[in-house]
């Protein structure tokens, strides 16, 4: 039983570190989504994200296609990391419950 508790404690520590790593990486990445608006026959890229109740459209600047692709990739990665962070938190809750029981 002592060995099992030790394994669970170790996994709890790992998950806490993983949570910190995901939070740090998410903080470095842009949130929202890229939206293209057509204004007078020209395409303009905006980053749309939620701020409280409202959706903010932030002009992404005069981006070259590869820069736009890069921005899209970063947003995708943020989403992936947010999903992984939810899983880490869920696993952490389960491990903590097992440590207590």
């Amino acid at each position: 039983m002592k060995v099992l508790k030790g394994i669970l404690k170790e996994e709890e520590q790992r998950l806490k570190e993983a949570q910190g790593s995901y939070e740090r990486e998410i903080g470095k990445l842009p949130k929202g989504s890229v939206q293209i608006k057509k204004i007078k026959e020209r395409d303009y890229a905006y980053r749309a994200y939620r701020k409280g109740e409202r959706v903010v459209y932030e002009y992404a600047g005069d981006l070259k296609p590869e820069e736009l692709k890069e921005l899209g990739k970063k947003i995708e990665l943020r989403r992936l990391y947010e999903q992984k962070l939810r899983e880490v938190r869920q696993n952490l809750r389960e491990v903590r419950r097992m440590v207590r029981d």
């Binding site: 394994i7 790992r14 993983a18 910190g20 790593s21 990486e25 990665l77 992936l80 992984k84 696993n91």
Partner: protein, 228 residues
């Protein structure tokens, strides 16, 4: 937390490493070897694998340089995030079900920090006795993958050696369980039994003594095979 999801993630990592041409340059070590021994080695199919969240890759030393592969970028795409330990830049890669690490044999007195593998964009942590594993690799084919793992006899003897150096009882128990699990199966085959004894005889006396002391203490039933 489900072993199936975990196995899927491990296989995904291995697949991506293989496609990038780096899997054949690394050796899978640690408890995930047992997963492949079960499928790839006759007689070890009944092996019990204890659950583990660590997946360890051994970087052979000297590392055969070849084409460059950005391993952190591959792991990022698979949802792994780097967890940095200390100021040395050494990172392990975390996932909800797994932690992936790169290890390298420690030679001589060892270095003061991790070893940079420029071709792979990673740093590897030096650990003693890993050259024992690196010197006896075998290849196992599984679902289109060709995975390099240590010879199971060597893996088991190595586990007995490192168990004696573990401070945490849970780690020690896991090492011993893995070693005995494999040796019990190998000792059923007289050829394998003779091979294990031959390997043991060639080891440095200090290592051999450690193995015999550990097995005498924890598994006297196995010790008789070593001392035949």
């Amino acid at each position: 937390m489900i072993e199936d999801t975990q196995s899927e993630t491990v296989l995904e990592v291995l697949n991506r490493f293989q496609k990038a041409g780096v899997l054949q340059r690394l050796i899978l070590i640690g408890s995930w070897c047992l997963y492949f021994y079960r499928y790839g080695i006759r007689g070890l199919d009944g092996l019990r694998m204890s659950r583990t969240t660590d997946i360890d890759f051994l970087v052979p030393r000297p590392f055969r340089s070849g084409h460059k592969v950005d391993i952190p970028a591959i792991l990022q795409e698979l949802g792994f995030a780097p967890t940095f330990h200390g100021q040395s830049g050494l990172a392990v890669y975390d996932h909800p079900e797994l932690r992936l690490e790169f290890l390298i044999p420690e030679l001589g007195k060892g270095s003061s920090g991790p070893i940079t593998i420029r071709d792979l964009h990673i740093k590897a942590q030096e650990i003693r006795y890993l050259n024992f594993l690196a010197d006896h690799p075998i290849k196992i084919e599984y679902q289109g993958l060709i995975v390099t793992v240590p010879d199971p006899a060597i893996f088991a003897l190595h586990k007995l050696i490192v168990s004696s150096r573990r401070k945490k009882p849970e780690k020690r128990e896991k090492d011993l369980a893995a070693a005995v699990g494999i040796l019990k199966f190998l000792f059923k085959d007289p050829k394998e039994e003779a091979r294990v004894r031959a390997v043991l005889a060639k080891l440095p006396p200090k290592w051999r003594k450690t193995i015999l002391t550990v097995s005498a203490k924890h598994f006297p039933a196995l010790n008789k095979y070593f001392e035949k």
